[in-house]
Symmetry: C2
């Protein structure tokens, strides 16, 4: 290893801008250099062009990519006006999707030579240095600061320093060679017997503050505070030796230890042992980044989430105890329990992290941290928490797809960092997540305890219709048209006057805004819609208080949006609503006894409006109010024309839907006041909207 410690991620506050400029310059160069040095472990140019694994580009891409990333983001930020090399900046812009292990890459690429890419990196280096040396700089550098993109580029390169080291480790051994700057740990011995350590219950606070002085990725910000119940955690990371028990007990051959996705991966990959284990005759060896060595039984095993999970299931079966992976919250509890703090600048970390010690793992018993070992460093530790946004999450406008696509329940958080986790990666607040089949320098620690709190649904609703309705109900106003469900609820509440306001029904509630709005006045409101997908949005909001969705801007471009009940002043209604799937033309008897029924934009979407209109009085208390709103957009696809209640010639004369409503409701209702128009707007794209005008009528049940 080199003598000097690899520079820590920077503090971005301070008074002395010129000193900060110099720090950033050094930080950029240190990172840019170290990244290039990693590629010196390749034996020759041809090694750059062979794919280490089928699912990723060859390493030549990653050599160019981190440079291109700088240029692309600096252009976006307006710090650069001209590209360095437009062609390269297209070729090196987009990696292969790591999302799916069965998504084979069949693209054909014409890669530049190593010399050309290195020359390009030289140009980028000069460009970025010139920028750092000359661009105006005022402190602090925060999220909105133009220089944030410079840090973004550096931290991005540090991520690739790690992921490229994994690819090099996955490269066939003939393509790599040892390198004095990348020396593996030499220590090894007998693995310690693992033990369970009792961790008392305690509160943890996750989420980086927006005023924090270091760079952070979007997913780190926000707040998440929770009480973690007591649990037990293994003192050590699971070593190769400990994992051998699973392998030798037929763990890879026993399907019941594997969850469905893991089983599919195992079948596809034909895995029968950890990926970096190499069987040499009867002996196990271990593949490191640049060499194959005798098995290091006391080093942490490196596996993907599926393997870690299968191990836990095996151990649970064998021991009869509730063995499982920890949650993210529990990892933070371990961190606090062991009294850990951020690594310091001036001295090596008390952890195998940040390249402070080795270019490899080391024995699980080497770095003691309180009562445990390797809470941070050595290898990343899989959790059973899919990554999700903290309350207050926002995308960064210049990198809006850094995290958002991974809020899908399929990307699992890893914590703690590895021997090569540097910069932001090594911080307490770091949050990285990968697909369950993915390999990193990652292993695990197991815990015993009840399953912790459920992770909130975090995926962004991308279904076009649901997103449009989410925005329609909870989003912005367009063309000055006020929120429609709220306007209807206000009309309904006003019409109720001093009438009893125990129960209200929002029939055809769609995504449920009016349900919440009515709950400002009623003791309880039920939202019912034919679409389970629609009511899912309402339920999610009632449960979590927050809703996330994407909005189509133009073509395939989207923006990310979230809305909370709190922002809408509806937080107090969360426990007064419920949602059910149901058919307004054939509603279960239990849905009755209401003081108000709201039917917003419903009647022209029913297969039989007459069935609804002919029986709705049965569900309403005497004196109760029925509010009907509709733009009367009769469409054959929703309502066969024989079922329309108006909008046709009847006895040779125009017969409107309002005529039909009067005819059908008159046996039990009286019309209160005059019909009124209430407009609504549904956003389809940034530039396209449906703009309609609903006719609102109020009907009082009198018979």
């Amino acid at each position: 290893m080199r003598d000097a410690l690899f520079q820590r991620t920077l503090c971005l506050t301070g008074e002395d801008a010129e000193a900060k400029r110099a720090e950033i310059h050094a930080y950029f160069l240190a990172t840019f250099d170290r990244y290039e040095q990693l590629f010196e472990t390749l034996v020759a140019d041809h090694a750059y062009f062979v794919k280490p694994i089928a699912l990723r580009h060859p390493l030549i891409f990653y050599l160019g990519h981190t440079a291109t990333f700088f240029i692309n983001k600096l252009m976006l930020a307006g710090l650069l006006q001209e590209r360095v090399n437009a062609q390269f900046e297209s070729v090196f812009a987009v990696g292969v999707d790591e999302m799916s292990w069965d998504d084979l890459d069949d693209a054909h690429y014409q890669w530049p030579s190593v010399g050309e890419v290195m020359a390009y990196r030289g140009q980028v280096r000069e460009t970025v240095c010139r920028l750092i040396q000359t661009a105006p700089l005022a402190l602090p550098i925060d999220w909105d600061h133009p220089w944030w993109t410079i840090l973004m580029g550096i931290e991005h390169e540090r991520i690739h320093l790690e992921t490229s080291s994994v690819l090099i480790r996955q490269h066939a051994i003939q393509y790599v060679k040892p390198h004095p700057a990348w020396q593996a740990c030499q220590a090894t011995g007998v693995a310690p017997q693992n033990q369970l350590v009792k961790i008392p219950a305690g509160d943890v606070a996750l989420g980086k503050d927006r005023s924090a002085s270091t760079y952070g990725w979007d997913n780190e910000y926000g707040q998440h505070k929770v009480s973690v119940p007591a649990f037990e955690a293994s003192r050590y990371l699971v070593s190769n030796n400990e994992f051998l028990g699973f392998v030798e007990d037929g763990g890879y051959a026993t399907d019941r230890y594997w969850e469905a996705e893991g089983l599919a991966w195992k079948t596809y990959s034909r895995a029968i042992h950890p990926t970096f284990w190499v069987k040499q005759g009867n002996a196990w060896q271990l593949r490191l980044m640049t060499e194959v060595v005798a098995m290091r039984w006391d080093w942490p095993v490196e596996v993907n989430y599926h393997e870690a999970g299968a191990f836990c299931n095996w151990k649970k079966a064998v021991t009869g105890k509730a063995v499982r992976l920890p949650t993210e919250d529990e990892w933070y509890r371990l961190y606090d329990f062991c009294n850990l703090t951020e690594i310091e600048s001036g001295k090596p970390a008390c952890a195998n992290i940040h390249l402070d010690h080795y270019a490899s793992s080391c024995p699980v018993s080497e770095f003691r941290q309180g009562e445990l070992y390797d809470v941070t460093g050595n290898v990343w530790q899989w959790t059973n928490t899919p990554i999700y946004p903290f309350a207050g999450f926002e995308v960064h406008p210049l990198y809006d797809d850094f995290t958002t696509p991974t809020f899908d329940g399929l990307h699992m958080l890893l914590k703690g960092g590895s021997w090569i986790s540097c910069g932001n990666e090594a911080l307490h607040s770091a949050r990285y997540a990968f697909r369950r089949h993915f390999f990193q320098h990652a292993g695990f620690r197991y815990v015993l305890g009840e399953v912790g709190s459920k992770v909130p649904t975090s995926s962004y609703e991308t279904d076009r219709l649901l997103s449009e309705y989410a925005e329609f109900h909870y989003g912005d106003e367009y063309f000055g048209v006020v929120n429609f469900p709220k306007a209807l609820a206000d009309i309904a509440i006003h019409a109720m006057g001093n009438k009893p306001a125990c129960r209200a029904l929002d029939l055809g509630c769609a995504t449920g805004r009016a349900t919440f709005e009515l709950a400002r006045h009623f003791d309880h409101v039920t939202g019912i819609d034919f679409s389970a997908r629609f009511i899912g949005i309402g339920s999610e909001l009632a449960g979590q208080g927050v809703l996330r969705y994407t909005l189509i801007e133009e073509g395939k471009l989207v923006s990310y949006k979230s809305r909370s009940l709190k922002e809408l002043n509806l937080d107090g209604t969360r426990h007064k609503v419920d949602f059910f799937q149901g058919d307004a033309c054939n509603l279960k008897p239990l849905f009755s006894g209401y003081d108000l029924i709201l039917a917003a934009n419903l009647i022209d979407r029913l297969y039989s409006p007459t069935k609804f209109l002919g029986s709705v009085h049965e569900r309403l208390n005497m004196g109760g109010i029925l509010l009907i709103a509709s733009p009367y957009t009769w469409l054959e696809e929703h309502t066969k024309s024989a079922e329309w209640i108006g909008g046709f010639k009847k006895n040779a004369e125009n017969f409107t839907t309002l005529d039909g409503l009067k005819e059908q409701l008159s046996p039990h209702f009286r019309l209160i006041g005059a019909p009124r128009d209430v407009p609504f707007v549904i956003r389809e794209t940034k530039r396209k909207f449906q703009h309609s005008v609903s006719e609102v009528t109020l009907w009082e049940r009198i018979v």
Copy 2:
């Protein structure tokens, strides 16, 4: 016949409202009585329930229908608040569509008895009388006056007096009986030899003035002035004897005399002679309304349009002369040439009309009118003019489908009236039209002469998309959003400044509003659209200056709308525009040399926007301007996503359509000024609109 003359249609102006009230009362009763008296020619109740012809209801319907019509229209007008008999007023509201001779009626009806219907008529009679005696009345009664509907009901009954008399004439002879009030003419003799009378050229003015003092149907109003060239007209209507020549010469068996639709009718109906001719052994007899008599060879033949036309074609073939049916204009020229005037109130008409003389036709030589006979009266005369609206046509709001469905090129005008044409039917301004296969008391007169002026296209555009675009381009403004094509043309014209303004191209012109608008500034403007249907609208407007379309109000309810270039202050541009069908991605070379090209809402509808953008400069003069407006609504159905020019991630970053435009146009254009937003609204129904915002960019050709 009865002694007193059947009351003429009323003068609706005057000073003495009470006297007018009495006149209207008498007019109503006279009509209501006479109509009931017609049904006295039926032998017994069962005759009411057998259909005279397959395509129409049995006569019981028509007995009830004219009464129901009063109630329905008076309710609509607000003169009545309650129905007389809701069930009857449903049963008797809608007749069978007479539109198509092969549209068989398979509905099942439960008709009330004759006694019940007569009792119902008694109630309606009382109701209308009470109304006439008591409702407030201020003179004059005009189109907007509530009492107009009373006149509408009376004149409607007079129409049915005639059409029911035709049905009775078509009824099997055993169902009908002679009646002293309905006595046929007894006179008959040898038919006169027909002769051609030279009619000198002359101007005619058609169209009833809105200030006229008599009731009129919607289609009569407006203006149509034309110079009719000289022609020759047969002195007499074609008699049964003259038509016999055609029959005996094998006219019905000779397909080439028949136009396609007539041939289809002849095949379907198996007609081999006029429908009211009856062959008894070798002798021809004639069916009158209530009896079959020996053939009246000197009476006018009664035929449908197809038979009249076939006769002309036969005569043309036989004589080598341009024999044909007259136009409506020519009929008015005959009227003027013969110095005819409206029939008087106090004495019998000099024509077999208004039931003044007979309940049948009479010899073609009986009523001389100037140099001709029977220009009015005896039987209706087919013209070869399909009914069309005069300039200034409007529907009556309480009877908007009286004429509009017949503006389809399939309904031919008949002129002159028959022996039973009464009230409005007998006026100079009367305009009635029927399908070509239809029978009335109708025959014809033939003329010789060049074919007159073409009848304008008059049908209302009902195609949903075309109508929406017609309204978008030429109709009203909604939500305060100004007319979009005009706004774009204004931007373009302003941008032109003092640049040459010879030729402009409106590419993707749709229905062409911007084409006309640009022609305010440019010497010539060409509109091109991929859709021939769209440019048809522009062409029609350029040709006729007027456009008619229906707007969907709600469900199947429509309103009727027309717009003229005059109203839009664009009349002066009619001769500066032309329209072509064309593909913006593959335009013919001749479309070049323009000073301006407008591409409004085009690029996101092209299959290859790149082909368009890459070649559009070739069509523009140096220094010329390209205006692109688009909401960038990329849809796979119009443009495969591989062809989108923006609206996706490119090299991992957002790449908007504006980015794509800049990239693709930069080789030949410079962007002038900043992009600006121009909103537009497309009306779908009375309550549903598309509301979009186009981004407008101006590009000057510099290379």
